[in-house]
């Protein structure tokens, strides 16, 4: 790659143009982000969590596993919500139904957690409030969580 750049110094411009011409094609939403989203703000909704995932397009993208990072994320994760989302997305991929007791020390489990949180990515679909049925569209990996003033409780 570097050799190519040396030979064609303006090659990177091609990449830049590609990126700015279609910047959305590569956008995805990770289930880690889904784990942080709720519809509780909607009038009349008690829990609004977890949002159901109705995924039209899902992509699996490998990323580097970092144990310390996962250990630090672990206490911030709502495991049941992650499990439900991975199931909804059709990618349980060996994720256990309950959080193992030795979660923070089991590298085998942390790798599965890493996969579910950071590698299962929703490109297009909907997030649906489990109580009101309100749908939040996900397009180009961007969830639209905007609520109208009259919807807010």
């Amino acid at each position: 790659m570097l050799v190519l750049f040396r030979r064609f110094p303006t090659l990177h411009l091609l990449f830049l143009q590609t990126t700015s011409a279609c910047p959305y094609t590569s956008r995805t939403m990770k289930l880690l982000t889904h784990n942080m989203l709720t519809s509780k703000a909607i009038k009349g909704v008690q829990e609004g969590y977890p949002l159901r995932v109705k995924a039209e397009t899902v992509e699996i993208r490998e990323s580097e596993f970092n144990k310390d990072f996962l250990v630090r994320l672990l206490p911030k994760i709502h495991y049941d919500a992650l499990y439900a989302a991975a199931k909804d997305a059709g990618h349980l991929d060996e994720l256990p139904g309950t959080l193992p007791e030795d979660a923070a020390s089991s590298e085998e489990f942390l790798k599965k957690l890493h996969h579910a949180l950071l590698e299962v990515e929703v490109i297009t679909g909907e997030l649906i409030c489990p109580e009101s049925g309100r749908s939040f569209p996900v397009q180009n990996g961007i969830p639209n969580m905007l609520l109208k003033p009259e919807e807010i409780g």
Binding site: T19, K30, F69, A81
Partner: protein
């Protein structure tokens, strides 16, 4: 280490006309984060939220310079700003060396609570702080919502501070830009009631604005209890 400012030249494209272009306040924010960088790295943030990401320059700067993995969520009310942030991250490849990042369109953090309560290690907030009338804030278009702060420039900040103190992890940090007219001492007192202390990181006069970057963090449990008793 050397810090580079992310490239945001795509902001000149017409489709991003409603997005706030990086200005003096943005650069002051970057300088303040750079000054406080050792505190940020010592925190080892795993979850970071930028509220009102605009061009995305602040998040991209942080993502490019962190040396350990972090997941960043960049949120804005303006869908064009969210798209601009996507381009900013894509055109600054250093943002993706260690960090993962997602985007969200939303009204402040109303759809993050209580799911992400106590979860966010690092919150970045360059708010609409300009003093305007409440009417100007309510009736303005998307581009004016990037700067119009309503009464004393505090209407949006105060709303987000209530959410931010809930989102903040016990060891978390909240960095925010404020204007002299926002009344820093009053903000300090207000956040003190939530058990947060405020440090002034950097101040600068930029044309007609006297700007400050402050950092909030939780006081120790003892102080927090003491504060509640006083209240």
């Amino acid at each position: 280490m050397s810090f580079s400012t992310p490239n945001t030249s795509h902001l000149s494209q017409p489709r991003f006309s409603s997005v706030y272009e990086p200005a003096e306040d943005s650069f002051l924010f970057l300088d303040a984060l750079e000054k406080d960088w050792s505190t940020i790295t010592a925190l080892r943030p795993a979850l970071c939220l930028e509220m009102g990401c605009g061009s995305g320059i602040i998040s991209a700067f942080v993502a490019s310079n962190l040396a350990a993995p972090c997941h960043m969520l960049c949120a804005d009310l303006n869908p064009s700003a969210v798209s601009a942030t996507a381009v900013t991250f894509s055109t600054n490849p250093a943002t993706s060396i260690h960090c993962s990042w997602d985007l969200m369109t939303g009204n402040l953090a109303s759809t993050l609570l209580p799911a992400a309560a106590g979860a966010v290690h690092l919150i970045l907030f360059n708010p609409p702080y300009v003093v305007t009338s409440s009417v100007e804030l309510d009736e303005g278009d998307l581009s004016s919502k990037a700067w119009a702060g309503g009464h004393r420039g505090r209407e949006v900040t105060d709303r987000f501070f209530v959410q931010a103190q809930e989102l903040l992890a016990p060891d978390g940090l909240l960095y925010c830009v404020l204007l002299q007219e926002n009344n820093l001492e009053e903000v300090r007192a207000m956040m003190g009631n939530y058990g947060l202390s405020m440090d002034l990181i950097m101040s600068r006069r930029c044309r007609n604005e006297h700007l400050h970057v402050v950092c909030f963090r939780r006081k120790t449990i003892r102080l927090f209890t003491h504060n509640n008793l006083v209240d």
